[in-house]
């Protein structure tokens, strides 16, 4: 049994707790972004683009058994780092788990500014889109 959404969030909070200053945190985030595998070019379609981001962000979702698996990419590496964490938390869970997930870790690790509702900032759209996929898959 894979770990729960809550357990992964706790794990991330612990990892970020090790850093003393923002620069270390961001270096880690940048590293996560660089390590996230790129989305294959054929999935970087207009359909998979998340609107409202200053950098282009692509999100692809597929169903594996009763679980949803996310893949995503971005031109900007910090966004990609954030995406990498979201995938770690939400991917390989059921639609129901994803839909009701409360992503408190973002605030706890001091990254809530990335959820701010400005046009240049797409993380919020990203989370919404992940939940939309979950909703769409659960309706099928």
């Amino acid at each position: 049994m894979a770990q729960s959404i809550q357990e992964t969030q706790e794990e991330l909070i612990e990892e970020f707790g090790l850093f003393d200053d923002w620069a270390d945190k961001y270096e880690y985030l940048i590293d996560l972004g660089k390590k996230l595998p790129s989305l294959s070019e054929d999935l970087k379609t207009e359909e998979n683009v998340i609107k409202g981001c200053q950098s282009r962000v692509w999100l692809h979702a597929k169903k594996q058994g009763d679980q949803i698996v996310f893949e995503a990419d971005s031109e900007a590496v910090i966004v990609k780092g954030m995406i990498s964490m979201l995938i770690r938390v939400l991917s390989h869970h059921t639609a129901e788990e994803i839909m009701k997930a409360d992503l408190y870790f973002i605030d706890q690790i001091g990254m809530s500014q990335h959820l701010a509702q400005t046009r240049s900032n797409g993380l919020l759209s990203m989370v919404k889109q992940m939940k939309n996929y979950a909703l769409a898959f659960s309706a099928k």
């Binding site: 961001y26 200053q54 910090i78």
Partner: protein, 406 residues
């Protein structure tokens, strides 16, 4: 006149703060400028002492508010050397001013096959209003190209001009890359072909001297908030015969002379174009911004900004992989740049952690970004209250950010 920058900075309360643990460095002046305390006080004073609706009331407050409101109009007239205050139309911003011209002058004058010339440097607000009216009227939009430096191709402009061109709508200064366009010559050429000219002065009015009569400008649009004034106030200057011949824009109170159900006669300039209760408080406070700039001497302010531009350009050029986008010989203090292999948004996020505010993205000029083959740039834009020390700190933070990202 030499400027005491520290004294000037003390006039701008917002500059004195820490952002993410560092002193704020505000390099996003092309998006909006900060406001001197006198502007903030004027806003507060208006609501504390004078708040009333204008032009109609006969009581003391209404009279004070009306006088202050109309005084701003006079100061704007003087600031751009317009012949008369009633040629100064107050709008919500540059965008509002351009839409007004598109929907009135455009509606009355464009017909099928007529041409509107814009440039590849235009902000979306000087593109989309023309597309909307062109589509409605069957007019055609033609674009003046720019070269690799971001300089308008005047030869191409000359070739585009003919009797079918009804309007040339170009910016005085590019918001994204700072190019100063040779508008005096462009206006002369356009007029020789019988075309009228609208100048989008949003980025120029705070950084260059503008004399609408000397330049023979037909329409000039700008925003108060980029001239150290409040948001929500814009200006449209127009030549009298043009403004008088244009149909009204929005209908409502203020813009009428007499209303009956059989028909309505419209008010005179400028009120014909100012339907409804205007943004009284912000218009009144804008007066203080104009006073502030006048008191310091425009020339001294512009000299300081150009010195900042030269220093920043020199310092940024020492960073490996950094490419400045927009290298026109005539520029205001705006520097757009990209760094090989790094997305502008990442730099924007990290610089913010250092307390530095720059703009990243397409700057509402997607066609220009496409011209340069870029999704966006980083843009640092300066005002006279910025310092050389801030540029040093910016360059240092930029180097550190690049290190983190590479």
């Amino acid at each position: 006149m030499t400027l005491d920058i520290q004294k000037i900075r003390a006039d701008f309360p917002v500059l004195d703060q820490q952002v993410n643990g560092s002193p704020l460095i505000y390099f996003d002046n092309a998006a909006t400028t900060q406001k001197p305390k006198s502007v903030i006080d004027a806003l507060s004073h208006y609501y504390t002492s004078d708040n009333a609706n204008i032009h109609r009331g006969i009581h003391a407050l209404a009279e004070r508010a009306t006088t202050a409101f109309e005084l701003t109009r006079t100061k704007i007239k003087e600031f751009i050397n317009a012949p008369s205050s009633d040629q100064i139309i107050l709008t919500a911003g540059t965008t509002g001013s351009i839409n007004l011209v598109a929907q009135t002058f455009g509606r009355a004058n464009f017909s099928k096959g007529d041409k509107i010339l814009i440039s590849n440097l235009e902000h979306h607000s000087n593109i989309v209003p023309w597309q909307m009216i062109a589509e409605e009227k069957g007019a055609i939009i033609k674009v003046i190209p720019v070269d690799e430096r971001g300089v308008l191709d005047l030869e191409a402009f000359r070739n585009l001009l003919d009797a079918s061109v009804k309007l040339v709508a170009v910016n005085h200064v590019s918001n994204a890359i700072g190019t100063i366009n040779p508008i005096a010559e462009m206006i002369r050429l356009a007029h020789a072909h019988g075309a009228k000219v609208l100048i989008d002065g949003a980025q120029s009015v705070a950084h260059l001297d503008v004399d609408v009569q000397a330049l023979d400008i037909d329409f000039f649009a700008f925003s108060a908030h980029k001239l150290f004034g409040p948001t929500g106030v814009g200006v449209l200057y127009g030549k009298r015969e043009l403004l008088e011949s244009m149909p009204p824009y929005q209908g409502g109170g203020e813009m009428i002379k007499e209303v009956s159900f059989e028909g309505t006669t419209y008010n005179e300039l400028p009120y014909k174009f100012e339907a409804g209760t205007p943004n009284i408080a912000d218009v009144i406070a804008f007066s203080a911004a104009i006073d502030y700039v006048n008191a310091l001497s425009k020339e001294a302010l512009f000299t300081q900004e150009l010195a900042l531009l030269a220093y920043a350009t020199e310092q940024l050029s020492t960073i490996p992989g950094l490419r400045i986008i927009g290298t026109a010989p005539d520029k205001i203090a705006v520097i757009s740049f990209v760094i090989d292999g790094i997305h502008p948004q990442d730099l924007g996020v990290l610089l913010d952690k250092f307390g530095i505010a720059i703009r990243t993205g397409h700057h509402c000029v997607q066609p220009l970004m496409k011209r340069f083959g870029l999704p966006g740039t980083c843009r640092a834009s300066f005002a006279f209250y910025n310092t050389f020390e801030e540029i040093d700190l910016f360059v240092k933070a930029l180097r550190r950010s690049i290190n983190m990202l590479q």
